[in-house]
């Protein structure tokens, strides 16, 4: 979108070579700096070594969950507070004052985006482990791992979802630039700053929310630029983006999710100061994410920026890939760490231009107990057509507002 993912005002376009989407080695006219391969190897080794060090993110079961046994487990204990229908037992029986976070397991919109791992963490360690109510006990010493998996499988049945909304397991860690396919309900403040050359940065305030249903997302992105231009600091809005995303396909069985998005970048930025394109742009793209059993994940995005006035801004195509590994201590029930590497390509539809390639090693970490507040950080480095394109330091703060207020869920 119009955030750090699109070609920013701080970048200059490549001028030669051909579009090479089939492999980075094939980018005609691009010579990879020696450091790139080393960086790539380091990142891949890091990803693989981390995988060996920690446990897997998604809950993989030694045996398939037994829903019938899960029902037995539920009715043996959970039912006392959560009731036979998953909406909560009568308040006259439970008596305690229900917290704001009291769950209604029949509420598909609330439960479907929650991965099983979140539920398991609360069952094993109790509500406070995820910043929820103390009244939810810890069952880790009372129920076996299998029993907990079984009861989660049974509780999933309370949501009678006929729309097949995408499951929370497919909500992969957000990359700094590559857009994921999962429709979100979050606010992100994302900043990219020049790591060398003239000081400058752009901060995007991004609001993503599902509308109509859980498969459709409305995105609003307001960029604010701040730059030292010829030793004069200047600031201003960039091109505001409005976009609609629609999940087209998702399957937990295959670990795949595909979405299409159409966006419009309004010419709200001052192009004379380099804060905008100077013309309205349309930005369609497809996003496809793949989660593997090892909790390695791949996020891909293919799209184009199509300005109305091509004399002001060229048409361009972009291709982005993020590969990462989700991992966490305590059998994936603790704080989540997601190292990733993004490979970012953009090419103008102009004769004689080549593809600009960037590499972006990064890390996302959950910071709140509830895991609804996360940070991501990384360094984006051009490695082709580097003239005039400077490295950037990127950072974002993410608040998944569907999981509660920003100030809740920290202790």
């Amino acid at each position: 979108m119009g955030r750090q993912g699109s070609r920013g005002w701080w970048q200059s376009c490549g001028t030669e070579g051909g579009l090479a989407l089939s492999g980075i080695r094939e980018s005609r006219g691009c010579r990879f700096p020696a450091g790139f391969l080393t960086t790539l190897i380091v990142c891949l080794v890091v990803l693989l070594s981390c995988h060996l060090l920690l446990f897997a993110q998604t809950l993989h079961y030694a045996k398939r969950p037994n829903v019938r046994n899960g029902e037995k487990v539920y009715k043996g204990g959970c039912i006392a507070c959560h009731g036979s229908e998953g909406k909560g037992a009568p308040a006259t029986s439970t008596v305690f004052l229900r917290p704001d976070t009291w769950p209604d397991f029949t509420d598909c919109a609330g439960t479907t985006p929650e991965p099983n791992g979140n539920w398991k963490a609360v069952i094993v360690h109790g509500g406070p482990s995820r910043g929820l109510s103390q009244i939810m006990p810890a069952f880790g010493d009372l129920l076996t791992d299998e029993e907990i998996n079984d009861v989660i499988a049974y509780m999933r049945g309370f949501c009678k979802n006929v729309h097949h909304d995408p499951l929370g397991e497919l909500n992969l860690p957000r990359a700094l630039v590559t857009e994921k396919a999962f429709p979100e309900n979050e606010i992100v403040i994302s900043t990219a700053a020049s790591a060398s050359g003239a000081p400058a940065w752009t901060t995007d305030v991004i609001d993503e929310r599902t509308i109509i249903d859980a498969r459709t997302q409305l995105e609003t992105d307001v960029p604010v630029n701040y730059a030292d231009q010829a030793h004069n600091w200047t600031a201003g809005f960039g091109d505001i983006t409005l976009a609609l995303k629609r999940e087209m396909f998702s399957s937990l069985r295959t670990g795949s999710i595909l979405s299409l998005q159409g966006g419009i970048l309004l010419p709200t930025g001052d192009n004379k100061r380099g804060f905008g394109a100077g013309t309205t742009q349309f930005e369609p793209f497809a996003a496809f994410d793949q989660l593997f059993k090892t909790n390695t994940f791949l996020q891909t995005q293919l799209g184009a920026d199509l300005p109305v006035d091509t004399s002001v801004a060229p048409r361009s195509m972009f291709w982005r890939v993020a590969v990462g590994q989700a991992m966490a201590p305590d059998h994936m029930l603790g704080r989540l760490f997601s190292p990733m590497v993004e490979f970012l390509a953009v090419r103008d539809f102009k004769p004689g231009t080549s593809t600009d390639w960037d590499v972006l090693p990064e890390m996302q970490i959950t910071v709140s107990r509830r895991q609804h507040v996360r940070v991501g950080f990384g360094v984006r480095e051009p490695f082709t057509n580097t003239a005039g394109r400077t490295p950037q330091v990127l950072f974002y703060l993410l608040w998944d507002r569907a999981d509660g207020k920003l100030w809740n869920g920290w202790r």
């Binding site: 700096p33 450091g35 790139f36 080393t38 960086t39 380091v42 990142c43 080794v45 890091v46 990803l47 070594s49 981390c50 060090l53 920690l54 043996g76 204990g77 039912i79 006392a80 507070c81 037992a89 006259t92 029986s93 439970t94 008596v95 305690f96 004052l97 963490a121 094993v124 360690h125 109790g126 406070p128 482990s129 103390q134 009244i135 939810m136 006990p137 810890a138 069952f139 880790g140 010493d141 009372l142 129920l143 790591a195 060398s196 966490a328 201590p329 305590d330 029930l333 603790g334 704080r335 760490f337 090693p361 990064e362 890390m363 970490i365 107990r369 360094v379 480095e381 490695f383 490295p391």
Partner: protein
């Protein structure tokens, strides 16, 4: 080039080191919930009854501890308008002894408040807590009467002797910061100990056979009242209410405890918790049956004025 190498190395180290560094600080390991102060602490009954309701015998008879206790005179000890009126009358007649009267009367009728005050060296204000309001607006500890965590935190020290009469019981001290024993008559497995400790953020259930000792009841059901002089000095004490001593001197003392009659035993193995409770032989119902049916009628007839919480 230098920057590329540098950033790759820094990020690589961060990727490797950060998870390992923070591994020992997982959310779950730090999730202890509220810390409780070192003094005497009573969680109120709403922390207990959700797990101790929904109990039935094999024939379907409801023996829920929470429901039965909430309808008993024990749960309504501070709601009892006769008691409230008596304390008011005494205080008006003897204004110079008002504080001593409130302290003495509240220790058994509003024990979760008074025992905490006593152990903290404070006096207890009874009337500032009236009228009792329904949860969550009112003073829950005051409204709870003889609540779960009062009886089940009493230590066996001195039970059945002068030292614990007039409600002067010893309340269990925390063995760690937020780890306080809560006694029951059964052996408790670790799983249930964790469940209870995590949801109350303080109590862990432990076996205490003194829960079935008549002396436990005798601590409050022995009331020696001291006559006070004009300056509050104790002149003499006289036995005002002596049910425990009457029992001791009766034929029942060698046959049945207080609990045997007032908390009738369930004649089959039943769960005492609705949360994966194993069947227990000899569970006593928390009906605290007595002859004060007049009071129960008043609690029912004047539910709003008395903020009665028991189900009709």
């Amino acid at each position: 080039m230098r920057l590329r190498w540098g950033s790759a190395v820094v990020l690589g180290l961060a990727v490797i080191a950060l998870p390992a560094t923070l591994r020992g600080q997982s959310q779950t390991e730090n999730a202890k919930g509220d810390k409780t102060p070192p003094g005497t602490v009573f969680r109120t009954s709403e922390r207990c009854v959700a797990c101790h309701n929904g109990l039935k015998t094999s024939s379907g008879e409801d023996i829920s501890i929470g429901f039965e206790w909430s309808a008993s005179i024990m749960a309504n000890a501070s709601r009892d308008p006769y008691w409230q009126g008596s304390v008011r009358r005494e205080s008006m007649d003897h204004p110079e002894s008002k504080q001593a009267i409130e302290d003495e009367c509240s220790i058994c009728h509003m024990p979760a408040v008074r025992l905490a005050d006593r152990d903290a060296g404070r006096h207890t204000q009874v009337f500032s807590r009236f009228p009792l309001q329904k949860f969550p607006n009112g003073d829950r500890a005051a409204a709870d009467g003889v609540t779960c965590s009062v009886c089940h935190q009493i230590e066996k020290t001195g039970l059945g002797t002068d030292t614990t009469f007039v409600g002067n019981v010893v309340i269990a001290k925390p063995v760690q910061n937020d780890l306080r024993p809560e006694y029951g008559p059964f052996d408790i497995d670790k799983g249930h100990q964790t469940v209870m400790h995590s949801s109350t953020a303080t109590y862990f259930p432990a076996r205490g056979d003194h829960m079935r000792d008549a002396g436990l009841c005798g601590s409050c059901h022995t009331l020696y009242t001291s006559a006070l002089g004009p300056k509050g000095e104790k002149l003499a004490k006289f036995p005002e209410q002596m049910p425990f001593q009457e029992w001791q001197h009766s034929d029942y003392a060698t046959k049945q405890t207080c609990q045997d009659c007032h908390m009738p035993v369930v004649n089959e193995a039943v769960a005492v918790t609705a949360v994966y409770g194993p069947p227990r032989e000899g569970m006593h119902r928390h009906v605290f049956v007595g002859s004060n049916f007049v009071m129960e009628g008043m609690l029912q007839d004047h539910r709003d004025e008395l903020a009665t919480e028991a189900q009709p």
